[in-house]
């Protein structure tokens, strides 16, 4: 009965199309659409066949989503719960920082670039200041190098703590959030003590650091370092052998080392896959060559390895800070080049040259001779590079940051395709993207 109706309709269609001059494409209109003996997935009286693509669902996650770690939008093609394709859409927090920097004197650029990767602000500052110092060919004093290393490693700890808290929150271990932020507040107290502000401190200047550390700082930092390893033990005790956490992260999102290198991924993601590449060891700068620390390297490269690598990095950071504090040399904390560095304030009332230098530096800023340079350091997420084009004036002609999260995001598709949505969330947590750095 249904077949007869089908045949009638097909014949009708053919007649209409022939009238209009369009040849029908059906070879044998009377052949059954579903072969006898075939495994029927749908009832046979539905006309036509469903295309395979119609079984797929494309959903949009974000930009507002509790688990997207910022405003990341993911367009995910699903078959059921399985992820077949993934397209990240970024740009929702694009702030035009690089364009704004072209308008400002070099020392005014520092607060701008700090706010790119907003969890690694000391690293952003170091990348920019390091580039400008190399363009100017000035050496920074040893005390400044050690102070920079101390603050950068504290910032790495801080970034990893925030990562651990929010990642555990995404995967379901909600209490970790409070524990990690408890330590994070202690680190921010230290930043407030030395630099005056908790986040975005503008502490590094071209030539060194802005101010020496105050009197109680070393004691407070030592207390913190003495406490921290036991806290990391506590975090590991909560998560390391937690069955739910293991089930959600073991074997999830592994990408091969070669593929990660092709995609330009650096940082803990690459080290978790087994590649021992860390710019602090391979191209050391500042005081890293004098300090003794190890680089944790994973084996498989799945989410669990990434977690372990970052937690181990936290321990190494504590060791680095301790060594740097023990070896902190006395001396000036900023270079003595009056052309680029503000003179000390007590000289302003006695020395005319100091006053003139101060005036010129504050109003116009220092001029950097023409040239361009790319300099990169190891941030908490990978290789953070800064490219500055100087044209001889007091303002940079181009500032560009090679942000690690931007390139790491290209690996996200490889990590998630073939897994479930729950694995996508775990992958995103372990990828540690910071949208401020991605979008700049």
């Amino acid at each position: 009965m249904a077949e007869q109706r089908l045949r009638d309709e097909v014949a009708e269609d053919e007649r209409v199309l022939t009238e209009r001059g369009v040849a029908p494409e059906i070879e044998d209109p009377t052949a059954p659409l579903v072969q006898a003996g075939a495994r029927i997935e749908r009832p046979p009286d539905i006309e036509g066949e469903l295309e395979p693509e119609q079984e797929l669902m494309t959903i949009n996650m974000g930009p507002h989503h509790p688990a997207t770690h910022g405003v990341l939008r993911l367009i995910v093609t699903l078959r059921g719960e399985e992820v077949l394709d993934l397209k990240p859409v970024v740009g929702y927090v694009h702030t035009g920082i690089e364009k704004n920097c072209e308008d400002k004197a070099y020392w005014k650029v520092i607060p701008y670039v700090e706010r790119m990767d907003y969890l690694a602000y000391f690293f952003n500052m170091e990348a920019f200041c390091g580039t400008v110092e190399r363009l100017l060919e000035i050496e920074i004093p040893d005390r400044a190098k050690y102070l920079r290393v101390i603050h950068m490693e504290l910032n790495r700890l801080h970034s990893h703590l925030v990562w651990l808290g929010t990642s555990a929150l995404d995967v379901g271990a909600i209490s970790m959030f409070w524990y990690c932020f408890r330590e994070r507040d202690k680190i921010l107290d230290l930043f407030e003590m030395s630099a005056g502000q908790r986040m975005h401190t503008r502490y590094f200047q071209v030539g060194g650091v802005f101010e020496d550390i105050p009197l109680g700082y070393e004691r407070k930092l030592r207390e913190f370092i003495a406490d921290m390893p036991s806290r990391i033990d506590q975090y590991e005790a909560l998560l390391d052998r937690n069955e739910i956490f293991l089930r959600r992260t073991k074997g999830v999102g592994a990408v091969s080392r070669e593929r990660l290198l092709e995609l330009g991924v650096t940082g803990p993601l690459l080290r978790a896959a087994g590649e021992p590449w860390d710019l602090r060891k391979s191209m050391p700068s500042l005081a890293y060559c004098d300090l003794d620390f190890k680089i944790p390297v994973g084996t498989v490269g799945d989410c669990y390895d990434r977690y372990r690598v970052r937690v181990a990095e936290m321990r190494e950071s504590v060791r680095i800070i301790e060594q740097a504090l023990d070896g902190l040399p006395e001396g000036p904390w900023i270079a003595d080049e009056r052309k680029y560095v503000l003179p000390p304030r007590d000289e302003l009332s006695t020395s005319m040259e100091a006053l003139i230098h101060h005036f010129k530096l504050v109003t116009e800023g220092y001029r950097v001779p023409p040239g361009e340079l790319y300099y990169s350091i190891e941030g908490p997420r990978g290789e953070l590079g800064c490219f500055v084009v100087a044209d001889g004036s007091a303002k940079p002609a181009r500032v560009h940051f090679r942000d690690p999260s931007f390139t790491n995001l290209q690996a996200f598709r490889d990590m998630c395709v073939g897994g479930y949505i729950a694995d996508l969330i775990a992958n995103l947590a372990m990828l540690d993207p910071i949208l401020g750095g991605i979008d700049r």
């Binding site: 694009h94 363009l135 995609l263 191209m283 340079l373 290789e383 590079g385 490219f387 084009v389 290209q410």
Partner: protein, 217 residues
């Protein structure tokens, strides 16, 4: 190989010259200049041969610059050629960095420099309103500077080339998916070009209130 301190490890001047000669032997006219300043080793290449140069650097034994750290563009506006695409290469085995710079002229400024004009190879517009080129008042599309895309050589370049396209309007021929990445899809203009204004709105004080005074009431 890696010297601690302020020096970035890179090939020294004679090494750089050797590399330039070898690339030119393999592909004549590829490398036009070498530069070594501020501890930054640069090979300036002709954009038409940039893929050949990159492939040579990546595949040759003894060079093996297999990691593309960064691909970024710059606009040197009063100078010509105006645009440059920088390829920051890294050889992880020898921990050495090398910069490859391809200078592109702006075809809209009418100064031919041996580069292809964008019109033939610009990507098709996706939806009306998101044309790949700036549309002028008289309706003619402005040509864009073009260079070959190195996504087959270095897959990491995918997002970075999209960013260079978004910010400067440089089209990469052969890129699988060249569309805006940071700005909204239908944005018109290339924000980080030097002649694009910084933007923002004039800050409203009482002396320049645009509406009636105390408009907020």
């Amino acid at each position: 190989m890696a010297k601690p301190g302020a020096v970035v490890p890179m090939p020294d001047a004679p090494g750089l010259e050797l590399i330039a000669q070898e690339i030119n032997a393999a592909q004549p006219g590829a490398v036009t200049e070498t530069a070594l300043e501020n501890d930054h080793a640069t090979l300036i290449v002709d954009p038409a041969h940039v893929l050949a140069a990159l492939r040579w650097l990546r595949d040759t034994e003894g060079q093996r610059y297999t990691f593309l750290s960064s691909l970024h563009a710059a606009d040197y506006l009063p100078a010509t050629p105006r645009f440059a695409v920088h390829y920051e290469l890294l050889s992880r085995d020898r921990t050495e960095r090398l910069n490859v710079k391809a200078l592109l002229a702006d075809p809209a400024a009418g100064s031919p420099n041996g580069h292809r004009v964008a019109r033939a190879s610009a990507p098709e517009p996706r939806t009306p309103g998101s044309e790949a080129e700036d549309v002028r008042v008289d309706g003619e599309a402005v040509p864009l500077p073009t260079i070959d895309s190195c996504v087959e050589l270095f897959p990491t370049a995918e997002f970075q080339e999209r960013e260079a396209y978004d910010m400067f309007g440089i089209t990469f021929a052969g890129h699988p998916d060249l569309r805006r990445i940071l700005m909204p899809e239908d944005y018109v203009g290339w924000p980080q070009r030097r002649d694009f204004p910084v933007g923002g709105e004039p800050v409203l004080f009482t002396h320049n209130e645009i509406e009636t005074p105390r408009w907020f009431e």
